[in-house]
């Protein structure tokens, strides 16, 4: 398998503070990788670098041509209707303008918001807005999809529905995914591989060779291992 992402010796400093300290990571084409780590360990920093938002780094990395990001907050343009938010994501992808509406509507149907094309973003619930954000990221047909805790601000029930949705969309579009989360269950539910970031490096890695859709019971042992990588040994409390 050719690699979608290849990172070697990535170093990122904020002033005197070294956030990424020679990080190595590969993501294969179409692979779903979950990136776990404590708050403040540099997960968002890594994603921003891969998205090309922070050029001030040392080390090397390669990413595919088409990269999309979904952030923790949906970051929709409130003054553009939902379908325009999505079609504006087609910038630089080179599609014909008159097909934009149709493309946006198809993307909205995929996230089950077909009847919201003309809504204003501020009228959406948190989960709906986040689904629009996903649709906007996917409409570019990305080869790499970067997800930065996209469900962190959602309630538990909405989250569960979003897990289904993301898995389904990933199966259909098959981008490589780098999915940042601090929720171990979420990671084990969705990812082919779980990596743990600490002290600026990948310190642990687990392949999750379980059939999908997964149930929580199926990865109880792996969960204990990953939690211990994260420095949580008292599993009952976690």
């Amino acid at each position: 398998m050719a690699g979608a992402v290849r990172i070697r010796g990535l170093v990122k400093d904020f002033g005197p503070r070294r956030v990424l300290a020679g990080l190595d990571l590969d993501v294969a084409e179409g692979e779903f990788v979950a990136l776990l780590g404590r708050s403040g360990c540099g997960k968002s920093t890594l994603l921003r670098i891969l998205a090309g938002l922070d050029p001030d780094v040392e080390g090397t990395f390669t990413v595919p041509e088409r990269v999309s990001v979904a952030f923790q907050q949906p970051r929709l343009l409130p003054w553009r209707r939902v379908w325009r938010n999505i079609s504006l994501g087609l910038r630089g992808v080179g599609r014909q303008r008159d097909k934009h509406r149709a493309v946006a509507e198809r993307a909205l149907a995929e996230v089950r918001l077909a009847d919201h094309a003309d809504a204003w973003p501020l009228t959406l619930s948190g989960g709906e807005a986040q689904r629009v954000s996903l649709a906007r990221a996917l409409v570019r047909e990305p080869e790499l999809l970067l997800l930065d805790e996209p469900f962190g601000a959602l309630d538990a029930l909405t989250r569960l529905a979003m897990h289904h949705l993301v898995e389904q969309l990933w199966r259909e579009h098959r981008p490589a995914v780098l999915f940042v989360t601090h929720d171990v269950d979420e990671a084990l539910l969705l990812a082919d591989r779980v990596v743990v970031l600490d002290e600026g490096r990948i310190v642990a890695e687990h392949h999750v060779d379980l059939p999908r859709p997964r149930r929580r019971a199926s990865f109880a042992d792996l969960r204990v291992e990953v939690l211990s990588d994260l420095g949580v040994d008292d599993v009952e409390a976690a």
């Binding site: 999309s68 970051r75 003054w79 553009r80 009847d115 501020l122 529905a161 149930r215 019971a217």
Partner: protein
């Protein structure tokens, strides 16, 4: 883990059929139109009655302030013989021309200093210094520069419009949410795309605030400007009436000023409702 499965199906169903999501976001706007509370009219009407009573009994002499009835009659006469309409049109066109000049200048400067770092460095300091001058205090200079014709009146209105518009447009552009700009960048927006779809729309609410202030200042500037040797317009009407102790006409002129101010304000508010309809509720 049947509990887990159950909650999955519940939440999925919830997503598919969210009841509130079906209703378009129009409904709340209609509800906002409440009937005005008529009790709030009690005291204003009472004051007018009191005023009329004071005039009728001679407590308030007509050379100080005419009675409401006289004011009403004069207003009617001035409308019928066309004087008021002529004066109104002259004043309105002064405000309109001065406003356009001021809006173009203030808007252009605000755009340049908002959108470009060098523009800000070069433009913002002098504008910030100049705005501390009370612009109505510039009248003596304007008279020296432009004489006592139409030009100083227009310049005064334009100055009153340009500053608030500049300040609010500049501030509006500068407070664009960096998170949205970042999202636009990863979505491949060009710089022009970002300005058109992110920066300028996000500056609109603040700019509309500036527009309302600018219009208020425009009327104020006009009223002051029309004290300078006007030979037409509401200000002329008022000054002329003063010489003949016609307090009724003075009051009519003031009422017209007030009405004009109120109607332009209503216009901006209508514009706000239309342009900012993306703001939920």
């Amino acid at each position: 883990m049947s509990a887990g499965e159950k909650s999955v199906s519940i939440s999925t169903a919830g997503v598919v059929a969210r009841p509130e999501s079906v209703v378009p976001a129009r409904a709340p706007a209609v509800k906002q139109r409440k009937l005005p509370d008529l009790r709030r009219w009690l005291s204003p009407i009472g004051l007018v009655l009191l005023w009329q009573a004071a005039s009728s009994t001679g407590v308030l002499p007509p050379d100080k302030l005419a009675s409401p009835a006289t004011v009403f009659r004069s207003a009617y006469e001035l409308v019928v013989d066309g004087q008021l309409v002529d004066a109104f049109l002259v004043s309105l066109s002064r405000v309109a021309v001065g406003f356009v000049i001021g809006a173009v200048v203030g808007g252009a400067l605000g755009l340049v200093s908002g959108l470009s770092r060098w523009g800000e460095r070069l433009l913002d300091p002098p504008v910030q210094m100049l705005r501390t001058l009370p612009h109505l205090g510039l009248i003596p200079l304007f008279i020296l520069w432009f004489g006592i014709g139409e030009e100083p009146k227009l310049a005064l209105v334009a100055a009153g419009v340009a500053f608030p518009l500049y300040l609010n447009l500049h501030a509006g552009i500068r407070q664009t949410d960096p998170a949205l700009l970042e999202a636009a960048r990863v979505l491949g927006y060009t710089r022009l795309d970002r300005v058109v779809h992110v920066v300028l729309p996000s500056a609109v609410p603040q700019t509309l605030v500036g527009l309302r202030i600018a219009l208020g200042t425009a009327w104020l500037s006009l009223i002051v400007g029309e004290q300078i040797n006007a030979d037409a317009g509401i200000g002329y009407l008022i000054n002329n009436a003063r010489e003949f102790l016609r307090t009724d006409v003075v009051v009519v002129g003031l009422l017209v000023y007030a009405l004009l101010g109120l109607s332009t304000d209503a216009l901006v508010r209508a514009l706000e409702r239309r342009v900012l309809r993306w703001r939920a509720r």
